[in-house]
């Protein structure tokens, strides 16, 4: 879609704020609405918008499917690993109190880390599924818009 200048310009303008907002939602989840799940989806949407306008091949140059598949697993491992770490430190599985000197800070650290795991998994899963669909389809021709 070479001649859709409006779509190209508007999407280029929109993508940086979308990513910034995703990061804000990710790290601010304990103060405002949102958290890893929502942030992951918003983050994935920025890249999906890019793929819709510039083609999925361009997106796969930045984020190869193999990397996304690995990240999907790494997110779950970060979450479960936090639980294992707390167990090694002598607490229950996912008992964050021991992660810092003060139980409250331990809780905050634990929540931030597991939310990061959720965010990584959700973002990479959404993008992998999108790529799986997009690569299966013949690209939409300009006349069909």
């Amino acid at each position: 879609m070479k001649h859709h200048s409006i779509l190209r310009v508007v999407s280029k303008l929109l993508i940086p704020p979308i990513i910034l907002y995703a990061l804000y939602v990710q790290w601010h989840g304990d103060y405002g609405p949102g958290g890893g799940f929502q942030a992951g989806v918003v983050f994935a949407v920025a890249f999906i918008l890019y793929a819709l306008v510039y083609g999925v091949d361009e997106m796969m140059r930045i984020l190869p499917p193999r990397l996304l598949h690995a990240l999907a697993g790494i997110g779950v491992l970060i979450y479960a690993g936090t639980g294992v770490v707390t167990m090694l430190l002598g607490e229950n599985f996912l008992g964050y109190n021991v992660l810092a000197h003060d139980p409250k800070h331990g809780q905050e650290w634990g929540i931030i880390v597991v939310e990061l795991g959720v965010g990584i998994t959700v973002a990479s899963v959404m993008m992998s599924i999108f790529i799986a669909f997009a690569c299966h389809n013949p690209p939409i021709k300009d006349e069909e818009w």
């Binding site: 939602v25 989840g29 304990d30 103060y31 405002g32 609405p33 949102g34 958290g35 799940f37 929502q38 989806v41 918003v42 994935a44 949407v45 999906i48 819709l52 796969m60 499917p65 193999r66 598949h69 999907a72 697993g73 997110g75 779950v76 979450y79 479960a80 639980g83 599985f93 996912l94 964050y96 139980p103 409250k104 800070h105 809780q107 905050e108 634990g110 929540i111 597991v114 939310e115 795991g117 959720v118 998994t121 959700v122 990479s124 899963v125 959404m126 992998s128 599924i129 999108f130 790529i131 799986a132 669909f133 997009a134 690569c135 299966h136 389809n137 013949p138 939409i140």
Partner: protein
């Protein structure tokens, strides 16, 4: 105060009206592209309803997942199938009967529930006050929803994350991982 309540009631009635209109339109349309778009509208209206219920976290999820990602993925699915729904081969009598019976059973089930917004509901007497009281002491996280989600109910959220991961594996197994074997046009028939 009552002016506020009246405003909320008007917004609720408007949103529910749109919701019902969208649902009926989805039932009647045979063009699946329009159905997918209306499903996105339905999700966005539900998200607005969650906002009027002060459930902003849920509303955020519904807007991002239901209206955003799902619509894109449904359009991707549509491109793999056909754009028009086939006419049903048999009569609509049995499905309508099932819907009516199931709907009646669900409405009958709500009769036992406490009235909507009632302050005496069990959830407002035991569970909610305990979390509101304990969260600042235990975790110091201002957003109680986040504290419940990631700390008190950390096991559930770990399970949810694993479910999302499993969903990805299932889709990738069905559709292929998106790694093109050879050539630029990709995708088998």
């Amino acid at each position: 105060m009552s002016a506020d309540l009246l405003g909320i009631a008007i917004i609720d009635i408007l949103l529910f009206t749109f919701l019902v209109v969208t649902a009926i339109a989805i039932m009647h349309l045979r063009n699946l592209f329009a159905v997918v778009m209306l499903a996105g509208v339905f999700s966005l209206l539900s998200a607005s309803l969650f906002v009027t219920l002060d459930a902003v976290d849920v509303a955020f999820t519904e807007a991002a997942v239901g209206a955003g990602i799902s619509t894109v993925l449904m359009l991707g699915t549509l491109a793999l199938t056909v754009r028009e729904e086939k006419k049903p081969a048999h009569s609509v009598f049995l499905p309508v009967l099932v819907c009516l019976v199931a709907g009646a059973a669900l409405i009958y089930g709500t009769l036992d529930m406490p009235a909507f917004g009632s302050a005496d509901a069990p959830i407002h007497l035991h569970v909610a006050p305990a979390y509101i009281e304990r969260t600042p002491i235990d975790t110091g996280v201002p957003n109680i929803v986040t504290a419940v989600l990631a700390s008190y109910r950390g096991y559930d959220t770990l399970g949810e994350t694993a479910v999302i991961f499993t969903a990805a594996i299932a889709v990738l197994l069905l559709l292929g991982a998106g790694i093109r074997q050879s050539g630029k046009d990709g995708g088998k028939e």
